[in-house]
């Protein structure tokens, strides 16, 4: 009991960067940088920062040595398209802040506000090597809502600390295809026309803010909050995550993005492999769930487990996620990547798809997603291949802070574990 309380205390208070020097030795290092993979190397961490990494790095005197033999060090994983921090129990609405049905807030919805760093989902996901997530708004259509945008996604860390937002407003979320059509009057055409009209409104607003505030601008369908939020999208400064699956829908979006000069991140793209060359030419990244191989709807009849491998082979930057808006099952991210490997994606590309690729796409690659000297340690030591279920993390660092290998389910387990 006392032991458990101590563990609890550790869990709650282990947030300050430790002032010690740690060396992880003799591990396989997947740096995700130009240095590539080091078969047997050492990482030295001092005051939460990586001070040296590579083969033949000397262990400083007095360092705490973590034996990494047989193990692998990867950057902390990034779960793209999750709702971590915004949900506790999906079916308890009060604990879910993933979406709004406010009639006045659409693009302006900013999920980085009101996140819960104490969420018990964070340590659960962390035990699967996830140190960051792209927390992404969902749609709440309860009120017969017909607003276009789900809102703005944020990159967060899973350190369980108050300032959990790594990058707020990292991208705008828009569903097109079947869902978007439904929300725009039932036809894909209407959704696209509406989107173009909205972008025109936003550009007008951006150019006539003063008049708008004088009440002299043209009538705006969107609220001021929404209009403001969309300016960086219309100006190509903020990426637009477009949820879409059907091959033809993907092509439409590529064309629209060219006309409107939008930066697009495809999400889902279950038939992406069928238009892989177009996506590669447009240089748009794709977030996908490698396990999605079922024809759930008429938009994803071509779904296959080989989607990731085929897109990668065509030169598309692939980001792997677990499901859509996943929270409780975010921990399956590495299994998804493993399955992509089983279905043809190179192993290093699969690890990139959950580390450096999302870091780059969401603008946090200077902090996370790869292992370099000078950075805060954001990494995981595994006792085997990180994509294997039979491997477990041996040490986890989130942005310089070593996190305990505990979570509520483990406490529960220990309570009932036969002794």
């Amino acid at each position: 009991m006392t032991r458990r309380l101590l563990a609890l205390a550790a869990l709650a208070f282990a947030t300050s960067a430790s002032a010690e020097t740690i060396a992880i030795v003799d591990a396989r290092l997947m740096t995700m940088t130009a240095a590539g993979e080091v078969e047997r190397g050492t990482i030295v961490i001092r005051d939460g920062r990586i001070t040296a990494i590579g083969p033949g790095v000397a262990v400083p005197v007095g360092a705490r040595v973590i034996d990494g033999r047989g193990g692998t060090v990867t950057p902390g994983f990034i779960q793209a398209d999750s709702t971590l921090g915004a949900v506790e129990v999906s079916q308890v609405p009060a604990s879910a802040d993933r979406a709004t049905h406010s009639a006045a807030i659409s693009a302006g919805f900013d999920i980085s506000l009101g996140l819960n760093p104490d969420s018990i989902l964070l340590p659960v996901s962390r035990l699967a090597g996830i140190t960051h997530a792209v927390t992404t708004p969902l749609y709440d259509d309860r009120g017969g809502r017909d607003l276009q945008f789900a809102g703005q996604a944020a990159v967060i860390d899973l350190a369980q600390r108050p300032d959990m937002v790594t990058r707020p407003r990292a991208a705008m979320v828009l569903e097109m295809g079947e869902g978007g059509a439904e929300r725009a009057g039932g036809a894909r055409g209407s959704a696209i026309v509406e989107l173009k009209a909205t972008l025109a409104d936003v550009r007008h607003f951006a150019a006539h803010r003063v008049a708008y505030d004088r009440g002299e601008g043209r009538p705006q369908k969107l609220s001021r909050v929404d209009l403001e939020a969309l300016i960086p999208v219309a100006e190509g400064r903020m990426s637009l995550i477009v949820k879409v699956d059907r091959a033809s829908d993907i092509r439409e979006i590529i064309a629209l993005a060219r006309e409107e000069k939008l930066r697009v991140i495809f999400d889902g793209a279950e038939e992406g492999w069928r238009v892989a060359a177009d996506i590669a030419a447009a240089k748009f990244p794709v977030i996908l769930d490698p396990l999605a191989d079922l024809p759930h709807s008429f938009s994803e009849l071509g779904a296959t487990m080989e989607n990731a491998a085929r897109l990668h082979a065509a030169g598309v930057m692939v980001i792997i996620k677990t499901g859509s808006g996943v929270a409780h099952r975010a921990r399956e991210l590495r299994y998804g990547a493993g399955n992509a490997v089983a279905y043809g994606l190179p192993h290093d590309a699969a690890v990139a798809a959950i580390t450096v690729n999302p870091a780059r796409v969401f603008g946090v690659a200077d902090r996370v997603g790869s292992l370099e000297a000078g950075r805060a340690a954001d990494l995981v030591l595994w006792n085997g291949d990180p994509l294997e279920p039979l491997s477990q993390p041996q040490a986890i660092f989130v942005e310089g802070v070593e996190k305990p290998l505990t979570a509520r389910p483990l406490e529960l387990r220990d309570r009932y574990l036969p002794r």
């Binding site: 191989d293 294997e388 389910p409």
Partner: protein, 468 residues
């Protein structure tokens, strides 16, 4: 190669249509009967095993699901049955020899909880949703087999994941959801062509949040968990009464009019007689304890608790009651009653000596039950629980076979058992392992190297991506 495969498939597919003879009803008419007997098997299986030759898998690591891991093992199949399993066996003449060195062999994967065919792909299409007859808390009169669409593309993808047998259940909106059906995962035009011959029926019962939300939300009973229990008990009282009336009529030499048949009570009475197995969706430990007391009160047995995320809290009780636990590893937290889910649930039940099962309840997860089990095994090792791969393989083979009442036929690689076999490219507890070949009753039903075996469903013919 391709031609041969297609022929086999055609044979399988036709099996469902070619059923000329119906098996005899299981209740034979008696001479003095004044009323026609009840046909206990009105929708009989027309399944015929695929053409099976003599096959030898040689050199693989074999997990028999009886507790053994055999290195350099040989598995011999003949006439649809396992003939022998052992290390370095001599392959008799006439056997087609398959080089399995570096690969692994297990029994066919059995999913104890599936909704394939009753909630078919595309599952966003409402017309494809036949899983929940949510019109009354007690719909014991409905049978899942009458909702099955054999063309659900999910059957194919499940087969590619090594699934040879599955139980398809009605949903959990009702206290009594209806009868389950156990299927062989073979391509077929008819449901009867997939039915597992001789498999007992199950009765789907649901605890907890779902029934009370569905009916409480409509201002009907049950609106609370105590309302759930009152609903179960009332139904069992009715069933006892019904069973007694029939018994009396039978014992009285079938004189006079038979009691009027009632489909709902017929199913419940089947449980009281032990012919139908209770498959109980129930998450919380305290609710499982209540269900066990109800079973004692009315004298029936619960075969399996499904989902059962808190089973670890009462593992010794479940062992004592000999109730299987079918659960997940990774699912948790989406509603209150799964809040206390552990990755170690199955392992803790196993460690207590119980019958642990990893099930899917999902068309994606059913393709990766081996991986879900691997994650459970990994968590067990993390917790210091000593379970071997040879033990853990039971979680999706031998143990679900027990839960489904077909353990005498499938679930292990033992001589005499049906030859439902999976050849894996690697250790099935590895994320990279894929089912390379799958046999059902000794006949090949999947071969990853042969495109002819992939995507059989009529639905996907001519659709985008069909040629993947």
């Amino acid at each position: 190669m391709r031609m041969r495969a297609i022929t086999v498939i055609a044979a399988i597919a036709l099996a469902g249509c070619a059923a000329g003879e119906r098996p005899q009803p299981s209740v034979a008419p008696t001479a003095e009967a004044s009323a026609p007997p009840i046909d206990r098997d009105p929708y009989p299986s027309t399944y015929r095993a695929p053409a099976a030759g003599q096959v030898a898998l040689v050199g693989a690591t074999v997990l028999t699901a009886t507790g053994d891991e055999i290195a350099n093992g040989t598995v011999l199949m003949d006439g649809g049955k396992i003939v022998a399993v052992g290390a370095g066996l001599t392959v008799p003449d006439g056997y087609a020899r398959i080089d399995a060195r570096g690969k692994w062999v297990t029994p066919g994967v059995i999913d104890a909880h599936s909704h394939l065919g009753v909630w078919s792909q595309p599952d966003s299409v409402e017309a494809n949703n036949d899983v929940n007859e949510m019109t009354d808390p007690n719909t014991a009169q409905v049978w899942a087999e009458h909702s099955i669409w054999p063309q659900d593309p999910g059957f194919d993808t499940a087969r590619e994941g090594g699934v040879t047998t599955m139980m398809v259940l009605p949903g959990s909106g009702n206290l009594f959801g209806g009868r389950t059906v156990t299927l062989k995962n073979v391509p077929s035009v008819t449901m009867q062509g997939m039915k597992f011959p001789g498999a007992p029926y199950g009765l789907k019962i649901a605890c907890g949040e779902n029934p009370k939300r569905v009916y409480g939300g409509r201002g009907r009973s049950p609106a609370t968990r105590m309302g759930n229990v009152a609903g179960y008990r009332k139904a069992w009282i009715d069933a006892q009464d019904y069973a007694r009336r029939w018994d009396k009529w039978e014992k009285g030499g079938r004189v006079g009019d038979a009691p009027k048949r009632d489909l709902q009570l017929e199913t419940l009475a089947g449980v009281l007689k032990g012919e139908i197995l209770v498959q109980n969706h129930c998450y919380r430990a305290d609710e499982m304890a209540n269900m066990i007391d109800i079973a004692h009160e009315f004298g029936f047995r619960i075969r399996t608790f499904h989902h059962a995320n808190e089973a670890y809290k009462i593992a010794p009780l479940l062992v004592k009651e000999d109730i299987c636990v079918a659960t997940w590893t990774n699912w948790w937290g989406y509603k209150m009653e799964v809040f206390d889910a552990l990755e170690e649930n199955a392992a803790l039940v196993d460690a207590a000596g119980g019958c642990a099962i990893i099930h899917s309840d999902d068309p994606v997860l059913i393709q990766h039950l081996n991986q879900e089990a691997a994650a459970a095994l990994s968590s067990a090792w993390r917790a210091g629980i000593r379970i071997t791969k040879a033990d853990a393989i039971r979680w999706f083979t031998a143990n679900p076979a027990k839960a489904l009442g077909i353990a005498d036929k499938v679930g292990t690689l033992e001589a005499g058992k049906n030859a439902d076999v999976v050849l894996w490219s690697a250790d099935p507890f590895s994320i990279y392992a894929r089912a390379e070949k799958v046999w059902i009753d000794g006949g090949i039903v999947f071969d990853r190297g042969d495109p002819a075996y992939r995507r059989h469903s009529d639905f996907l013919l001519g659709q985008p991506g069909e040629t993947r």
